[in-house]
Symmetry: C2
Subunit: 326 residues, 2 copies
DNA sequence: ATGAAAGCGCTAACAC
DNA sequence: GTGTTAGCGCTTTCAT
């Protein structure tokens, strides 16, 4: 098969351990020896075998990321940035999509848990108990899920929602609707209502629905009937649905109704009118999630237990002054 | 650490090899023995260690997929479908994004080549020579890249483009433009022009440009100046750019100009008007690519060397009858 | 700073 | 059908 440490050792006139050290702890090897080994290794085309290395060392140099749906345009930029970040730590990123189905999540995790040094679980649907068991088996980071004792990255919509409320209030809106597509237990609706309340803005919550385009279509009708002048949608996809629904009903955006999305996916910049939305930085999420799982693996002393990533409003063309009352 | 074959063997009163066989070749083990081993294994919580298994067997049970850009909405559905398909073969899919940068591709491949049993390279930018070298080292499947001797999946736009040409001809169009964003050596423009020629339709090629939204904006202006009544764009993103460009110029779609995209990404169904586009089935691509690499790995006799996946036109609202000549 | 020896957990020959 | 033996390629004590 391939070239091994022994081949290199023999050809360089040193022991296998020295060759190994050259690749794992070069500072422990005398410069002259090191140079020779490196020269011979590259001449022979030696590449360390990660499998053998893992078996011996117990480390895989891989990180696992489990997400609900890679086809949701919110995730690809995060995956991309995490892959880059993982590589700066010398790790490979293993992405697993559990397809939004809870039953699949455990199976999906099972399929990669033995192949990675740590796991990042995005909005896991597993029970607290299962997660605690898992955390005992392998370093774990939870994103948007809280289980006491397990390191957590919290992606907070609060700053963006506050800015959205300020934005709408400044534009004179008073009657707002939130199209909710989260699980009720997430209390997203409650949190958002409270933020709007704090700005002196009323907010009617619709849903929960599924986070689909058609949901937006439907919600637009309801919102109109409700007399709302501003609509905050669960995400950009739903917001685009709202945009379509309003347009179909002959309602002008932003002349009569303003619309705000969440996530700032590529959809937001491409809709007509371009969508005002709440942006979550994929780089920030990726960097923090990656660093947190690496610190958890190494047991680094500087490891925070809870890291927060914020959000902010990206004003575009779908929001404008509230119409004068009839 | 964890439970090993030996622990199970001891507890079940059999040898380690028997335990191993229960998990790799159960039919070679007597039913009664097998049941007992399974019972003991599950009681002890035994999970085979894939690392050790790989080291010994030489197989990783993983497949690698290298793509140019996971943030391009064309890829996520394919990644998702390939992951599912790989799992039915008992494999894990390892996705690597090389970020469209040629220099990174080799590095990206390097990072995973030793961790997988086979590699699927999407539109590789590597030289023929490098690819041949790589194919010597590991089973390889090329998508949309031809190197004699290396198994290949060809995603053919021809059927969809033919249907597009028929569609436009039936609608009375005679003056068409293709916004090209492929590398010149791909000859995509030439192939498409020939297809349109065969339908008796002229086609002016613009570009090559970068496949960006702004390209569409720009191309719209050029196409109008050109007197074109139909525009075929490199992909949906560019087509949406064209849509915006035309709208901004006060040109009605499809009243004055018809627009066709390529890929049928989620953008196509969400634009206004909804985009007529050429669809490439992610499932078909994923299934064939996965099966082809698996057959290449196993050296299966039924292995085809060249597999084709077609495409078809999805008519939506962005195409209509050509306007009457002024 | 370097080498010798042991063994990570598993599977594959080979024996019986 | 099952056990014995050996060793995949590497890292890591421990010794020198």
């Amino acid at each position: 098969m391939a070239v091994t440490v022994r081949d290199v050792a023999k050809a360089a006139g040193v022991s296998p351990s020295t060759v190994s050290r050259v690749f794992t702890a070069p500072e422990q090897v005398q410069t002259s020896t090191r140079d020779k080994v490196i020269e011979v290794a590259s001449r022979l085309g030696y590449r360390p075998d990660p499998t053998a290395r893992s078996l011996r060392s117990g480390r895989t140099e891989s990180l696992g990321l489990v997400i609900p749906d890679i086809a949701n345009p919110f995730f690809p930029p995060i995956v991309k940035a995490m892959q880059t970040r993982a590589r700066t730590h010398g790790h490979t990123l293993l992405v697993a999509d559990c397809d939004e189905r809870e039953a699949d999540e455990l199976e999906t995790i099972e399929a990669i848990v033995k192949k990675v040094d740590g796991l990042v679980l995005w909005a896991s649907t597993l029970s607290d108990g299962r997660l605690r068991e898992l955390a005992e088996e392998i370093p774990l980071v939870l994103v948007n899920r809280h289980v006491p004792g397990i390191p957590e990255l919290h992606v907070s919509l609060a700053p963006g929602v506050t800015q959205a409320a300020e934005h709408l209030r400044a534009l004179g809106h008073t009657s707002c609707v939130f199209v909710n597509c989260s699980r009720p237990e997430h209390l997203r609706g409650k949190a958002i209502r409270e933020t709007f309340d704090a700005q002196g803005l009323g907010l009617v919550e619709l849903g929960p629905y599924d986070p689909r385009f058609e949901t937006g279509l439907h919600a637009a009708t309801l919102a109109i009937a409700n007399g709302a002048t501003a609509i905050l949608a669960h995400n950009d996809l739903v917001a685009v649905g709202v945009l379509h629904g309003l347009t179909a009903a002959g309602v002008d955006v932003p002349g009569e109704v303003s619309v705000i999305g969440i996530d700032d996916t590529l959809l937001a910049g491409l809709s007509i009118p371009a969508l005002t939305t709440i942006r979550i930085s994929p780089q920030a999420v990726a960097t923090h999630a990656t660093d947190l799982i690496v610190e958890t693996i190494t047991g680094s002393a500087t490891a925070q237990h809870l890291v927060e990533v914020g959000s902010r409003l990206i004003p575009r063309a779908s929001t404008g002054p509230a119409p004068h009352r009839a």
